[in-house]
Each structure stands twice: as structure tokens, then as C-alpha cells.
Symmetry: C2
Subunit: 138 residues, 2 copies
DNA sequence: TCACTAAATGCGAAAGATTCTCATTCTTCT
DNA sequence: AGAAGAATGAGAATCTTTCGCATTTAGTGA
């Protein structure tokens, strides 16, 4: 009964919100744009407006249920929160996305923010490259 | 005579390109959106279309003269290439941008790309926070 | 369980950023 | 100076995301 989860976060357990959440939880693709979520739900027979998808994803982000990334190329992609912080490395050829965690980088970032006098609130690290399978193809 | 610089890069030395380049080189503000460049040129009495600003900045990026960043919030910002690679830390309150270089992070990134089987082509690291002067205000 | 109130949704319009089209104007080379 | 091809400007078009508003729905209390 996920409706309880939403209520705990101060969000009404509406049908669109439940469907989007369970879709994100069960999708094999982890990183999706609002448009992709919208289309996937349409194909699944769910009738949810695109504006609602945007609104709900934004609310989920504020509630900490999903995180939003700005990969190169413009539009936002969303990812369900797994709890553990991680950064991303992505293939510029095929769009593949991998995740990684590096505590050395994390602590260095904190140190830099500190040295520069900033109270760090967030950070984004994207590594771009060509993945192994795309290297073989070329 | 900068026109030679452009020609070396395979770009015709047109008036709009020269003006945009020299504007970027002399501007006190290092990070600007296409729109901001456009407006600044207008105010300086130069009559250059917005579409041209976009085109020229994209060409300059391809030629390595400027780099493009995707800070949080959507639109692209451009910065003239200084030669030395650096990353950015920015204030979420006032928009201030500072630069930094950290070789430890750089080498860690190369290591991660390597471990994941990627041929790294690029990377972007943005640290977000509240700068010292904004901290005092609040 | 039923009705009420506030909040959420859907749809189309609107806004913001960036790209495209195409006629006109330059650059470069001769 | 003249020709050929590339670049520019202005506005239309596109894409992503947000807004406005009438309609529907969830949560609550009687």
C-alpha cells in the first residue's frame, strides 16, 4: 500500500501520483525525461496529462523521492531515489548511463566549497565518454 | 588583427564573429548566456541578430574558442576558453560563479572512466552552494 | 456513508530557449 | 572588380516546460 508512503510526505495519494511512482519503481530504465514517462504511461493505457507528469515529478523531487539531472543536451531526466548518493558517467554515442560513487571526490568537493567560503547545498558530476561497446563498433 | 585567428580556425572573419569574439575577450563577466551576449552587443550599438549569436557561439565552441556550460536552471552559458581546464562552484542565491582546479578530482575521474570501460571525452563538475556574502545576508 | 473544501488534474494556451528557412549581404579568391 | 559560396538577419518553427482555469477527486468531519 504505497498510498501511505505518499501521505507521509504530505502528498495526497492521487491516482496519477501512484501510477507515476510505481512506474518509476518498476521501470527497467532508470533515467527518463518527463516526456518519456508520459509516453510510457500512455502506452501502458494510463491516461495522465503531460503537465501532470511534470508537476508530479517536480513534487517528487521536492519530496526527495526522485532526483533530477541536467545531462548535456538540454532536457531534464529523472531518476528514482535509491538512497545512496551517486554520480553519473554516460556514453555520448548510445546514451548509456552508469553510476558510480567516489568518496575521494566527495570529500574534495566539500573541501573546495569550504575553501571558497560556500555552504555547499548540492553538486553534480557528469563524466562523458564512449562506452566499451561503442568503442568496439567504431 | 584577430581576423587571422579566426581564419586559422577555418572560420571566415566576418564582422559579427569578430565583434562577438572581442566582446567575450573584454567582458568583465566571464559566464554569459547567448541572450546576454546578444543584449550586451545591442547596447554597445552593434546590430547582430540573436540567431547569429547562437550560431557563432556554437561554432566557437566547436573550434575550441569557448566552452558551453549547462548550469542548473536550464539555459546554456558560454565562457571564453582560457586554456586551463577548470570546474565551477556557484551560488544558488546570487548566481555568482567561481572557478577551481583540483588535480585529485581530475585524476580520480580518469580512473573511474577507465574502470568503467569508457574512453573519457569530457566531464562537468558543478558545486552548488551559498556564497559567503549571501550567507551573511540571511 | 455523504457532503464539503481544498487540492489535483487535464487540456490547451503561453512562455522561454534554441534552431531553421530563406532572401539578402558579405568574404574570399581570382 | 567579379563570381561563387558562405554568413547574416528576421521571423517562423520547434521543443521543453509552465500556467490558467474549469472540472474532478481525495481527505475529513458529521
Amino acid at each position: 500500500m504505497e498510498s501511505e508512503d505518499l501521505k507521509k510526505l504530505g502528498l495526497k495519494a492521487t491516482a496519477p501520483r501512484m501510477k507515476i511512482l510505481s512506474f518509476l519503481e518498476t521501470s527497467k530504465v532508470r533515467h527518463m525525461s518527463a516526456e518519456e514517462v508520459y509516453k510510457a504511461l500512455l502506452e501502458a493505457g494510463e491516461d495522465i496529462g503531460l503537465a501532470t507528469v511534470y508537476r508530479v515529478l517536480t513534487q517528487f523531487e521536492a519530496a526527495g523521492l526522485v532526483s533530477r539531472h541536467h545531462f548535456e543536451g538540454g532536457n531534464s531526466v529523472f531518476e528514482i531515489e535509491s538512497g545512496k548518493h551517486h554520480d553519473h558517467i554516460l556514453c555520448v554515442k548510445c546514451g548509456r548511463v552508469d553510476e558510480f560513487v567516489d568518496e575521494t571526490i566527495e570529500s574534495r568537493q566539500r573541501k573546495i566549497a569550504d575553501e571558497k567560503g560556500y555552504a555547499m547545498t548540492d553538486h553534480a558530476l557528469y563524466i562523458y565518454g564512449i562506452c566499451s561497446s561503442c568503442q568496439k563498433k567504431s
